[in-house]
Amino acid sequence: MHRITRRNLLGIMAGTAGLALMSACGGSQPAAKPAETKPAEAAKPTAAPAAPAAQPAATSAPAAAAKPTEAAKPAAQAPATVAATGSQVKVTLWSSFTGVNGDAQTAMVDRFNQSQKDVVVENQFQGSYEETGQKLTAALQAKQAPDISILSDVWWFKFYLNKAIIPLDDLLKANNVDKADYVDAFVNEGTRKGQLMWLPFARSTPLFYYNKDAWKDAGLPDRGPETYMELAEWGPKLTKADGSRYGLAHSGAGGYIEWSFQSVVWGWGGQYSDDNFQVKIAEKPAVDAGEWLRKSVVDGWAKSPQNADNDFRGGIASAMIASTGGLPGHEAAAKFPVGTAFLPKGPVAFGCPTGGAGLGILASVPKEKQEAAFKYAAFATSPEQTAIWAQATGYMPVRKSAIEGAAMKDFYAKKPNFQTAGKQLAMVRGQDVARVFVPNGQQILLKGLDRITVNKEASETVMKDIAGQLQKECDTVKKQVQAIEG
């Protein structure tokens, strides 16, 4: 009868409520008291099956011959090490590549898995660089982190500061990897206190793209401008009065203008910040660079559109400064011959920043996994593989021997635009810390540059504003750096 039915229902509800409440209490919280190492673990009533020994410290986990405990659920605690040698080690890789690049990443992992039997890598796509970084942050809190992950230029340092990734020098030596063969600028950027933390993998630089038809139409020589000043002279020639074409497209919303603008600032002899986290963007050279930027928009030959790629491919913008990573797409989609050139110089110097992503190996996984993961990393950045990768995507090879090698030479001969990027690589410089080591740095810089290119505010005012904000953030990061580096 109804009464009994309702009582049963009630019982079920009560039971469910009880269970739910228990699990609600078991959620992990951050340690409330300052702790030197790991956050204190809250009681986990339902995560029992994972062996407590599976929570390893970075270096103290036994290398082999650990208890062969298996996590009961596939995605629970980091599994304990597998005992017997000769059995396969499974490695989880988190990556951020889509489309053609995604296919190349899958192919790379497949080639690695087929090339040997000791390690099997599972590639898991986790979204864009940003999304991957955000997921990794959450995963570390939840102790669900992978073994190795793609980390972009603005993300890896945060994990370094929190000791979430391991130094790679020992692994490089143990695997006989020639560290000196890696492109110096790439290695230097990822090195802290003499230790390499971030292995270059999918690196890019900005490139000067131009529309050869528009160039011809405006009577310009078939080359990129030597300097930003020359670009300012050519810009008006390319700009049509009816608005159907303009000279240069600055990267707009979500387009990383603050990345390529480093080239302009360095060209004027300035920088966003020095290596000691002192913000320099309010000093004269950077301010002058900002004025160049502002004038480009005020004089009408440059714009900051919503999407620079679309404007360029559609022939609306005659030129743009954008990542080498987009080169295959632009060549394929544009209906005109695409020209590429080095970034222009400033009045003082030439400056080309690096970009893209590298690999980091997580500290929270057992040593055996780290070693296995490194085997993949070494493979993916080996001369043969990096050459294959560079040809399939728009990224740059990360090994000097690959750049000099026959495969790339052939490729460059067939694809002159890619060669431009390759040649520029010799002149790259590591990025300013205000952009890459400060979590909020990118946003502050981007908004500041938007004020200049969209609102046309005076460079001096804007730079002073963002210098204040940046310095505050830099100081916070500097303290964290000093805490772990001394």
Binding site: M1, H2, R3, R6, L9, L10, M13, T16, A17, A20, S23, A24, G27, Q29, P30, A31, A32, P34, A35, E36, T37, K38, P39, E130, Q134, T137, A138, L140, Q141, K158, F159, L161, N162, A164, G243, S244, G252, A253, G254, K303, S304, P305, Q306, N307, N310, D311, G314, I316, P439, N440, Q442, Q443, L446, K447, D450, R451, V454, N455, Q480
Partner: protein, 305 residues
């Protein structure tokens, strides 16, 4: 088990207790899940709002009200609040007014009505990335569709999405376009639920079309309108995807709303404290607004037949 009339019923206390149990059985799971999946995170964020943390470090430092002071005195935050209000007012008004008009229009027996309804509802079902692709195109100052319409009138279209002043109107336009389907469909459902007899009774009483509209339709729609108003305001505060794909909260901060600010602080700047402040403030503000609406508006809006 129902009581047959005439038998002495349970005592009043028993009845109340039973009603309470019934409530727990019927509404309990819903409420409980909200507590677990929505309120627990909110409380967690409230806790974080009094601390300084970057989501990774093992150190979580209590800072009292510092985060609140920082956020509330930040001029960027003032702009954020302003934007949120503008989006709310513009978005809610337009979607309700136009959506209701569309529902009334499409409630008549017109040929092709079903197809028309589907067209109007389709934008609501589209994902953010797809919407961005077309609207970036529409708003483009050089080749966009809007330019084609505006320039014959001799006007120069602004660079909508990259203009300090026009970016927010652009977002409101897209927001309206997307959400019209929602309000329309709900109004339609409301219209269809008005008992036919009420109209017939009014006609037999001598009412003409306008009177029927005024005295049957409008009161009949009142509960639905109240619903749309309350949920519309709440939804406008949660709008994130549109802003993220169209403008990223820019240019500068022209289209940053409270939820976007929360995202930036929590997911980009990794300032758990500030994100917590934003979450708490948003909740309090919305709670007050909704409470006021329930208290004062609903009484005037609900009718018992």
């Amino acid at each position: 088990m129902a009581q047959v009339v005439g038998t002495p019923g349970p005592s009043r206390l028993q009845r109340e207790w039973r009603e309470w149990l019934l409530f727990v059985a019927l509404a309990g799971p819903n409420v409980l899940m909200f507590i677990i999946f929505n309120y627990r995170p909110l409380l967690y964020n409230a806790y974080l709002s009094f601390h300084s943390w970057d989501f990774l470090s093992p150190v979580v430092i209590p800072v009292g009200l510092d985060n609140y002071v920082d956020v509330l005195t930040d001029p960027h935050f003032h702009r954020v609040v302003q934007n949120t209000v503008i989006l709310m007012v513009g978005g809610v008004c337009l979607t309700i007014v136009i959506g209701m008009a569309l529902a009334l229009l499409l409630n008549q027996k017109l040929a092709g009505r079903d197809a028309a309804r589907s067209v109007m509802f389709a934008p609501y079902m589209l994902s953010g990335a797809a919407i961005a692709v077309v609207w970036v195109y529409i708003f483009d100052p050089t080749y966009g569709l809007l330019r084609t319409v505006i320039s014959p009138l001799g006007l120069i279209p602004p660079n909508w999405l990259r203009d300090q002043f026009w970016a927010m109107p652009a977002v409101i336009i897209v927001y309206t376009w997307k959400n019209l389907g929602y309000t329309m469909v709900i109004c339609l459902a409301g219209l269809q639920a008005i008992p036919k007899e009420l109209y017939e009774a009014a006609t037999t009483d001598g009412a003409n079309a306008w009177h029927r509209f005024r005295h049957v339709t409008i009161p009949g729609l009142a509960p639905i309108t109240f619903f749309l108003l309350v949920t519309g305001i709440l939804a406008s505060f949660q709008t994130f995807d549109l802003i993220h794909v169209l403008t990223r909260g820019g240019p500068v901060d022209a289209t940053s709303t409270l939820v976007y600010y929360l995202y930036e602080q929590g997911f980009i700047a990794f300032k758990a404290g500030n994100a917590g402040v934003a979450a708490v403030l948003q909740f309090i503000v919305l709670f007050i607004i909704t409470l006021i609406q329930i208290r004062y508006l609903e009484r005037r809006v609900t009718y018992a037949a």
